[in-house]
Subunit: 653 residues, 2 copies
Amino acid sequence: MASSAIETDGQEILDLEKNRQAEMSQWVLNAPEPPSLWRELMDSARETVLPRGKRFPYLKDKDGLSKTVISVLQAMFPIFSWCRHYNATKLRNDLLAGLTLASLCIPQSIGYATLAKLDPQYGLYTSVIPPLIYAVMGTSRDIAIGPVAVVSLLMSSMVPKLEDPEANPIAYRNLVLTTTFFAGIFQAAFGLFRLGFLVDFLSHAAIVGFVSGAAIVIGLQQMKGLLGIAHFTNKTDVISVMQAIWRSVHQYWNPHNFILGCSFLSFIKLTRFVGKRNRKLFWLPATAPLISVVLSTLLVYLTRADKHGVMIIKHIKKGLNPGSIHELQFNNPHIGEVAKTGLIVAVIAITEATAVGRSFASIKGYHINGNQEMVAFGFMNILGSFTSCYVATGSFSRSAVNFSAGCETAMSNIVMAITVIISLELFTRLLYFTPIAVLSAIILSALPGLVDPHEAYYIWKVDKLDFLVCIGAFFGVLFASVEIGLLAAVIISFVKIIIFSIRPGTEELGRLPGTDIFCDVNQYPMAVKNSKALIIRVKSGLLCFANANFVKEKIMKWATEEEENDSQGKRTVQVVILDMSNLMNIDMSGIASLLELQNNLASGGMELAITNPKWQVIHKLRLANFVTKMGGRVFLTVGEAVDACLGAKMAAV
Amino acid sequence: MASSAIETDGQEILDLEKNRQAEMSQWVLNAPEPPSLWRELMDSARETVLPRGKRFPYLKDKDGLSKTVISVLQAMFPIFSWCRHYNATKLRNDLLAGLTLASLCIPQSIGYATLAKLDPQYGLYTSVIPPLIYAVMGTSRDIAIGPVAVVSLLMSSMVPKLEDPEANPIAYRNLVLTTTFFAGIFQAAFGLFRLGFLVDFLSHAAIVGFVSGAAIVIGLQQMKGLLGIAHFTNKTDVISVMQAIWRSVHQYWNPHNFILGCSFLSFIKLTRFVGKRNRKLFWLPATAPLISVVLSTLLVYLTRADKHGVMIIKHIKKGLNPGSIHELQFNNPHIGEVAKTGLIVAVIAITEATAVGRSFASIKGYHINGNQEMVAFGFMNILGSFTSCYVATGSFSRSAVNFSAGCETAMSNIVMAITVIISLELFTRLLYFTPIAVLSAIILSALPGLVDPHEAYYIWKVDKLDFLVCIGAFFGVLFASVEIGLLAAVIISFVKIIIFSIRPGTEELGRLPGTDIFCDVNQYPMAVKNSKALIIRVKSGLLCFANANFVKEKIMKWATEEEENDSQGKRTVQVVILDMSNLMNIDMSGIASLLELQNNLASGGMELAITNPKWQVIHKLRLANFVTKMGGRVFLTVGEAVDACLGAKMAAV
């Protein structure tokens, strides 16, 4: 169409047009050399590792050392920034939020420590030191720090493989503390070397599937406490746990535990329902766990139900966190496994905390510094491992309570930590009669928020392959183990990337009516195919060893089949135009295939032209001498290629 | 620029333009639904698995059963096609080529059998049955079938791990035959299920590196024969072999072997030099190995040099291939390893044969049916494993001789096989005194053709990362083992694909002067940036979990930094236009990041517009309701987006 229009115009316009085309082809061919691989690597390393924002703006002004020191301190310890604007109103709000938080945190911490197969006081320890350090170093104002369900599950599913927590509780605890140390080291390293992008490798879909599966596994673990089972399995997969429950129920089952647990679970659920109906009563669901603990403890104490089979916490060690540097075991034969567990826990903990922090920051409209966050998490876990804490991170449920209670700054974490310290010093003896079934009920009540079928359905609706990742993580956690679930999700995600990148798809382009734009004829049904030129675009960002041969054969088949259709009077392909605008890069196999394509087309009397090659592609094609071998038919746009090639053919006839 | 031009024009043109833009936006938004994942999977499976060319054109005509049967037979056994046009001239040429081939094949086969740690007659057996079967089923006219160096090396490096060839030669041989059977099964399966693309996963660069490394390893293995070492290492890596040579040379070293080997190596090299100078003497290098064998055997026989330490072949079993079905071991405890070895050997053998076949077919200008070739290789190896043959494939050096000798059809393979049969029946006794050093010399003389430093340099010049693949395979083979070399190459190749696909690069676009085309400002330095719109294109085919967050932060940084520069009077970004033309696909994390980007930009007073989303991308964005959330600013081209967004801003002011 366009070519015939040109021909009917005068010779002058034709010449002008030709000059213009030649000029634009020269633009393509004479592009400056792209940065070398080395420079690109350096640039990308620099971009990745060095601060993205202006983290040290003070370096610009030369106002003296003291100002610089203050700025560095402010960057490292954001508390110095917000402390200066702190006032009584904020303190009142933070005090209220911190106390509410503590009332939820104490029972949850004890429960999560039990889930992690540690003594109950370790949960409380973990709610003391880490929140204090985070308050000094963290950048989020709403996050509530402490032990969380998923990390506790990870600990209890990975560390017992190395050391039996029942046979040898001290060795087990030492390994947990060493794992915590490694997790802290990895988190701090991620932050300091700005490797936060590594956390991105867990995709959204994988997290949804993983957390849902983990919630169900955690729920099943609570059956131990809820049913009062003494000997439970160390495995976490659904089948082993179900078998253990089935066996125990047949052997010995105490209904008191179950009735007690279910009653308080119903109570907590009821308060949550009321709290949702009336936003002003937000403190009711937040304090319900503490109320449950107090009521149930009183109940057991008064009725001495522990003598009738109700399992109770018994002794909780009184007093503040003891030091634990001497408990870290670096000469352990399992040290490699411990480090691996530390890495997995570090990634999961950061992922959860980042999700929590980002969501509340975006609601309140402030910015979270991802790398500083990771440094804060790292230091809080390293110092935590020195003071008998296991891995702490930002808890979703408690952060939500913190937010609803109107917290203003990280001060609420300090208030919470102080409350926990007071409890550790004064009230541990009061928890002697607390029934374990109630702790299980408290954990169970927090789980439904982690299972998200709506999000899973949304993922299914939008992206079937992402749903596969989600389901892979879910079933992996449920039926194999926590690590296998994560591994399955990561592997499926990367296989998906490989498949998408090398899928040897091609699409035919046609001209959109009334424009010079060429588009996929399937996506734009109104696009008109050219009768003499076959315009093909590769549907992949790479033309490489894995797809080049296939693409070549597909184009050849297309070109020759269109040829054959010609006998029924359809079209004669004279020119094959390969639109390279999708291709980011090409490799040696890709270039070899293009050369074969060019030779095969030439032997069939057809021409090959390429359009809009990207920087790396045209550079490599030039280096490989492909441009001269194919007669220099390189154009910037498909339109020019059509005009130039068909115009030349016409002139030759 | 373009927008101001529009504004100065009359209102009428503006309206027309607006209508046109709206229409084109509708084209983008109302694209038909892309094929579902399921249909795409089916289509791609169909395309992959089903015949690409018209393999059964006879199905169209209904001329009766006999014709159909003949056509099927012709497709399965191409010999029926070319046999009908066979004539005396072709026979004369094939006879000449076949005899030349046999003279090279007999000494090489014996040598390669020794390399594979088998008795010499097994090399000869492998030059009988496989060539005959290939002649019936294969589609290449020039390929010469038989044992080859690389496959023999693979056998001798992988199977001895399961069974010691010196301690238990019969069990070793049985495993080799079983490996051959598996290799044949895999090859036939690749062909029948049209999985030939799996062979593409070994990239060109990997093959160059692998073959070069293998050639050096094979050369070092020949030191055993050349130096007359009795006890050699079973390992193939350079360091082990060097140590073995060093030890042997210090313990016992017979110079006669070395002198004999080197003399005949020089002779063969000399004939090759002469043959290259004078193309008519092509038979001289081709027959030189046989001449060497005859001369050296005579020499040893006359001087009885074997009594002075010259190692000789001694007994070669007389007679045709014995049956070996009973020797296949499917109950072996190592059966999994054997099958794995079979798979690796199958892939390497096909890769070599395909490369050989394609290169000669493209010289002569005929087409090779890749899948039929694989079926032919599969059947020849399966039947070979029943008749005491180990894995055969197309040999590069012998195919070149076959081609130079003027072969016309696969008949030359039949002639060669018959000659080998006659030798097996009549002349095996004559080879009793053949010195092993001469066999080593013959293998050594064929190796330099496999090492290709020019190609490696070419790869280095064009593609540094492909060179890494090449070097990985080379050093892997050299210093670790054959499998590790291959594994290294495949892993580096796929990691390269992942890195390219998820690298979070972005580029800024500018308008090429005098056009409506927007291009990378780095690739096209003449492109002019827009003063109010930041136009960004993602340099990756996927916006997914691994790069979406990084891309988002990069764009935000870019947009806000440009903002800041404004105080020095540079530019105010009002609109960020994201050109999506590169993106083949997007996942849930990508959509989430786009949403965050849109929110962040909005809170900074900027607008986000997207242009030219591909089929899958716009479909998913629509499903995720992103299009409505971002206010429907979706355009077909960047130019329209600039005009529409800035035009609207102007109108609002």
